[in-house]
Amino acid sequence: MSTTVHGAAQATGPHGRAYRVIGTRPVRHDGLDKVTGRARFGADVRLPGMLYGQVVRSPYPHARIKAIDTARAQAHPGVRAVITGADMPALNTDAVAELGEGAIELKYASMLILARDKVVFQGQPVAAVAADTLQAAREAARLIHVEYEPLPVVEDAVAAMQPGAPLLHDDLYTVIPGGGKAERPSNVAKHVQYERGDVEAGFQAADVVIEREFRTAMVHQGYIEPQSATALWSPDGRLTVWTTAQGPFTVRQQLADLLQVPIGNITVVPMEIGGGFGGKIQVYLEPLAALLSRQAGRPVKLTMSRAEVFVGTGPGSPAYIRCKLGAKRDGQLVAAELYMVYDAGAFPGSPVGSGAVTGLSPYRIPNFRVDGFDVVTNKPRVQAYRAPGAPQAAFAVETVLDEIAEALGMDPVELRLKNASAEGDRLIYGAAFNRIGFREVLEAVRDHPHYRAPLPPPVPEGADESADGAAGSGTYAVGRGVAAGFWSGASLTSTVHLTFNPDGTVNLILGSSDLSGGRAALAMIVAEELGLEPHEVKPIVADTDTVGYNDVTGGSRTTYATGTACWRACQDAIAQLKLRAAQLLEADPESVAFGGGEFWLWEEPQYRISLKEVVANLQKTGGPIVARGMVNKLPMAPAFGAHIVDVRVDRETGKVDILRYTAVQDAGKAIHPTNVEGQMQGGAAQGVGWALFEEYVFDHGVMRNPNFLDYRLPTALDLPMIDTVIVEVPASEGPYGVRGVGEVPIVPPIAAVANAIARATGVRLRELPMSPERIWRALASAGRSAEPAG
């Protein structure tokens, strides 16, 4: 079930016209290839003479590399190339690789690709081989002997901050608030601080103050397609890479920086991408495949196993958060304090900054202080994961808000409505919100039938155990939770080109990878503007030689920023086509108007010609045209969401069932509502997994569950249908008021589930995942577990 709620502006375009294409649900352009198996993903690449590679990874989370002996591997039949850290250019620079969503210092990125003197996480590559067959490459990889001297391991970020903790990097000095650096090296890469008002006075003025500690686990994006990259380094110095990446241009930049190759020599060809969620921005295999190809003189393909994906790529940051909120009796928030430790893994760069911003900015709080720490440990180096940093912070803030609502006897949605930020209110770093729809989202939650419905019956169908209602003494307890979440959305840079075919159809040349159906929305924008049908626009995700620069698909920016570029390209096309229409209509270009796919004369509207006809006659009116659109920086288009969830807790086993789920979100304007609903449902499901099941289980820095059996993603059986409500409060800029929708829906679910469990059982879980064992222990220690029957 899905519904749409309109905000301030109705779903009409400029001049009050109703949209013809925007808001409809055409079958996506890449759909047929994907349901027939024809779509080509990263691992589907096959080139003549292609070799297969295998990476050798460190079994130790922290060790000095004393020696690497590759002689036996090199002598193995079929082996064509062997590389080690000595083959990577040494980068003695402080330069930073900007990844669009996150950043990493180049010297660290280089070590992340291939270790040199020491390894700092289990799974860090130390060598790689390429051979005629994958089997030969695997055999040769086992013949590479690496002599390690194990070093003490730091697994926990809070422990890593303590004086005397083993150091990962002896050149890492804390960047302190204000920009200076600490005098002595430590595992704390950065300390960020945000402050407003007088926090102590604020808490003193509060009628209720609640302070709690939260811990979240390291989790993986869990894209089903493992990383795969194929490289061909040609003898003339040209490097071509076929890969599955969120940003082909970002891959190109990283390759140029890491391999010290002129960027113009590199072509990155984006294959279809089997999920990314932030985890396919950083390169891992591409530089290794390139170096192997250079040595072998042949194309080399590298594909990760699932275990390699777990230990060798970048998961989401685990966090320790202390959250203290103070409110007046009427629910008005007066003070907040957040102490956040985000674990970056082996190299600096956790999303603690965006965690801090997204945690408190949704609410108007006059006095606050946020201290955030970016800390390194001997674990995989984290990467962006859908709204990086925000779900952890929202878990803390939205749980404490729920406790404040309980303490004040207030409805949790009313409490949020009372404090919700609105246009003009400031984010914690000082910028003012432009138009936002947080209030409208909360009102949609409050007014939704789900929020007012009686709780489902506690006893599951077919169960013989009796129960006597919420927080009662029976085996089963049910409860309802709500929580909100926010993502400010990125703009960055996008370029698109339009070319025109003689039959009036249009090629939309894109450089934004399509992770989830985004190219359909972009084609719809072009169809809307040019008066075409969606399938008369052919969206093509091009390689880095074919289209102008584009930043990554990430930060919920593609439909917003690349969509704006599409809109601008259409205006460019219309301006150019007007000149041709004027020729055909034998009129002055100034007198030509355009709308609904037709050019006509302002003064004499009976003289008109369709865009298709103008396009069909391009050769006769001066030759082909190319239209282009570009965005470089747009204002933020912040998006808010709030989720309602009903859970059943089995107090005998600690198992949680999700009984009903409703996700509400401001999309600004839903270009393709099916795709928007899909984002909301998918984000909610990932959030439920983060809440209930998912965690890296470490034993002294060694991951013990690098597979999908022991690292459990939600299955179809773990979830109900996920109802969606799309709220449409137009963004200040961008076509049709559209906002990015991808990231917000993973922000509320963790706290929503935790709040529902608390409402059901009276017990608050503040550590993730909320596994049956953890819930059972919490219930038992509160005297609220149920004894096994008979």
Partner: protein, 212 residues
Amino acid sequence: MSTGVNAAQAIPGQAGLAGTSTAGGAQALVVRGKTLVEATINGVPTTFICEPRQTLLEVLREQLGLTGTKEGCGNGNCGACCILLDGQPVNSCLVLAVEAQGREILTVEGLAATAGTAAGGVHPLQQAFLEHGALQCGICTPGFLMAAKALLDTNPRPTEHEARRWLAGNLCRCTGYDKIIRAVLDAAERLAAAREAATAAAAARWEEVDRP
């Protein structure tokens, strides 16, 4: 992959090196440690040579060019490589290629043809996936389609719970499953309606024949 010796070249000239073994029921020919396997793949009798260690997934993808079947985990946990082996859904990463001897294999590339749709058409499941937006990145889609076909072949009118339970062996990280389950239930309706229409049409023809 270079292990893929072309069957037509390898066998006749090397008959002296060949032996026989049994795999998958029928007798299989073994040449220099490699096995000649004859199977029907998407309705086409196919012969390939493989090593005993090779999985069916590897042979389908790397030797036969059927890359529609995807590898997500390689150990049977994600279902992206689901195909039908004699009508049964299996994770092809857990099946050895030699086990395919004498058997019928259906992959996503052959799905549309099983519905009797015209060339270039799609199976009702594929159509329902498209219309419901039941795919986002699309990497898990072939596995879901094949598992769903097996479901509807076994249980033509599943309940939502039955569909969820059957498909719990296929992981999707993008959709939250909502639209996948809706698409499968909708395809079940469409297929059932088509079957009922066909039955009614057949009955009508019989009535006409019976009419004096």
